[in-house]
């Protein structure tokens, strides 16, 4: 039985509210950015058409290339640490009982703290004069100062992000692990499977979906990180921790380079979109299998 669209022309009215909401919260703001990206101004609110010049400038600018490089490195490192670490934590958690609930609560804590507070916590935590970590590291003879040393700044920002977000990966994986029926573990025990084989053939296949979600969430979020490094390092020392969004804000609000910033935000947005789409498409290939019974 097929109901064709043209039989129900009024059905479109039912979709109208959604169209309006999406228009106001996504399309219209985006269009203003698009509008800025193809114009330039000499002040006085007078704009003139420049076509794709801003985009060319962004793509050829060394500054954008550097920020993008830092961003990719940061996101890559964060994903490389948080995904395996979160998975390992989830595998180590008890399956039930009061201890499971206690661990859940501990894990959820970092997720409940506002971004700028997380930044502030780590900003103070790492200070060499009054910060617990900063002072302690210096006390054991290691020269650590995130305000002056680029490497130290990176370590601090990455440690902060791992602390803040590994819990999310762990909780997602834990929920995925809970969905593995007990009988699979029993069958694996009967088949004489090693711990690794159980992970590889029983647990991992059923974690696939949550791992895709975890990866996408952590990719998008870390790729757009702003508040925490802004609070901790302000993008410094020098430009060492100036990630894309920090650079974008400097450009748009610091220099008030609206056209340049608009073009950069569109490119930034397209990168996120493209990577997510590519990743999701690749990971879902051959994923149309029927759900296992039970």
């Amino acid at each position: 039985m097929s109901l064709r669209k043209r039989d129900y022309p009024k059905a479109w009215l039912l979709v109208l509210p959604v169209v309006l909401i999406v228009a106001f919260n996504a399309v219209i703001p985006l269009m203003t950015v698009v509008n800025y990206s193809v114009q330039d101004t000499f002040g006085n609110n007078q704009f003139f058409w420049v076509g794709l010049e801003w985009f060319e400038e962004v793509l050829h600018s060394e500054r954008f290339g550097n920020a993008l490089g830092r961003q990719l490195l940061f996101t890559g490192l964060v994903l490389a640490i948080e995904i395996p670490l979160g998975l390992m934590i989830a595998l180590g958690l008890p399956k039930s009982g009061w201890r499971a609930s206690a661990y859940m609560m501990l894990l959820a804590l970092p997720l409940l703290i506002p971004w700028n507070v997380v930044g502030t916590i780590w900003q103070i935590f790492g200070r060499i004069d009054i910060g617990l970590a900063g002072a302690a590291i210096n006390a054991v003879g290691i020269d650590y100062n995130y305000t002056q040393n680029a490497f130290d700044a990176w370590i601090t920002v990455i440690a902060m992000d791992v602390w803040h977000w590994t819990s999310l990966v762990a909780l997602l994986c834990y929920s995925g692990l809970k969905s593995v029926p007990e009988v699979y573990y029993q069958a694996a025990a009967i088949d004489g499977a090693s711990r690794w084989a159980i992970f590889r053939f029983v647990q991992l296949p059923r974690l696939r979906q949550v791992l895709i979600i975890a990866f996408l969430l952590r990719f998008m979020d870390s790729f757009m990180i702003y508040t925490e490094p802004f609070v901790i390092t302000g993008g410094g020392p020098g430009n060492a921790t100036t990630f894309l969004s920090i650079d974008l804000v400097k450009l748009a609000l610091g220099q008030f380079d609206l056209g340049h910033a608009a073009a950069m935000s569109l490119i930034y947005f397209l990168i996120v979109l493209l990577v997510c789409w590519l990743f999701y498409t690749i990971m879902s290939v051959g994923d149309s299998r029927p759900e296992p019974r039970q």
Partner: protein
């Protein structure tokens, strides 16, 4: 292959079991012979899956021990016991092909590539899975998945026993019948000890040499299907086996005859006269009684009649209890004044729910 014994085996899922009711298994002493096919039959919650879990090593018993060929294996885990198990819901490793699924238990035990390929091919042949070998197991039907689960048990040459935990639950009726026949064949070909857990008496009676009927953590009777049908040792077994189950009527017993509702039924069995007990019951199968045509027998009221293709089953009230009479489909049920005649040769006497033994 092994002979499996249990000694005073008890199991409780509670941390501190105290009362008999806390135990899922109560002091079981079993002796399962090598190469036999057994069925554990009982209603849900009778402890049959628990017993299976203890034999396979997935569960540690609270008390008692379990021996394979005289060796105590109580503290060995499932991997060390070399027991295969097929579960109620088919378990396949979905990311693997059928071949890899079947090869998995062998790979885990470090068999060589060629030995694995040879053995998998044999088992696939046996189960009619040869053409499915390259297929991804996630795409199989429930029946084929269950065959793969079964294949993973059969592929190992060193198994002591194969355990089946209600393996046909999720299978379609058509395929169910085929698989059951296949299992029976496999048992004959392989000569492995097989233990089959089910609550379906047809499955149990067709599959096993010996059926053990379980109830509330105990084995009430174990015997051949015909023994269980002809001489249930316990009222529960009589009611559980057969469809419909055995009829029971309260009676008096005078040493020779059972007196039901004032009618004397001579039992013609060498019972001793010294049996005492007040709660006698006469047990008889619906197949071993009939409508009397001459006005003798126990008066009864007809309630309902069920017709199947070959038998008619009449439900009646007689002597204060419900009684079923099974008769050939072509036989007429009298219009009124129903009376039941019990075959005295095949009626059995029960005292306090237990079969009264005859004098030797």
């Amino acid at each position: 292959m092994a002979q499996i014994e249990t000694r005073a085996l008890s199991h409780s899922y509670l941390p501190d079991p105290d009362y008999p009711a806390d135990f899922a298994l109560k002091e079981l002493d079993l002796n399962l012979l090598d190469g036999h096919a057994y069925a554990l039959l009982g209603p849900s919650g009778c402890g049959k899956s628990t017993l299976l879990g203890i034999i396979s090593g997935l569960l540690r018993p609270t008390q008692g021990e379990i021996l394979f060929d005289g060796q105590d294996v109580t503290h060995l885990n499932a991997r060390q016991r070399h027991v295969a198990e097929v579960f109620q819901f088919p378990v396949v490793y979905e990311t693997m092909s059928v071949f890899d699924n079947l090869a998995f238990p062998l790979k885990n035990r470090g068999f060589g590539r060629e030995a694995i390929a040879k053995r998998v091919a044999e088992v696939a042949e046996l189960l009619d899975l040869s053409e499915q070998l390259p297929r991804k197991s996630a795409t199989l039907s429930a029946g084929a998945r269950q065959l793969v689960s079964l294949g993973r048990g059969l592929v190992r040459t060193d198994v002591n026993a194969i355990l089946f935990d209600e393996p046909l639950t999720v299978i379609d009726p058509q395929e169910k019948w085929r698989l059951r026949t296949r299992l029976k064949q496999l048992h004959r070909q392989s000569g492995l000890t097989m233990i089959y857990v089910t609550h379906d008496q047809t499955e149990a009676l067709t599959f096993a040499d010996t059926v053990m009927v379980m109830h509330e953590g105990r084995i009430l009777q174990s015997g051949s299907p015909s023994e269980l049908f002809e001489r249930p040792k316990h009222k529960f077994v009589g009611k559980f086996i057969g469809s419909p189950g055995m009829n029971f009527l309260h009676c008096q017993f005078d040493g020779n005859a059972a007196i039901v509702d004032g009618q004397s039924i001579p039992l013609q069995r060498p019972y001793g006269t010294d049996i005492d007990g007040s709660s006698f019951e006469l047990g008889f199968r619906p197949e071993y009684c009939e409508f009397s045509r001459d006005g003798s027998g126990i008066a009864a009221q007809l309630i309902d009649v069920d017709c199947t293709s070959r038998r008619k089953i009449a439900y009646l009230n007689a002597a204060g209890a419900k009684v079923c009479v099974s008769l050939p489909a072509d036989q007429e049920i009298p219009a009124d004044n129903h009376r039941i005649r019990i075959d005295p040769q095949r009626a059995l006497l029960y005292a306090a729910e237990i079969l009264v033994a005859e004098r030797p």
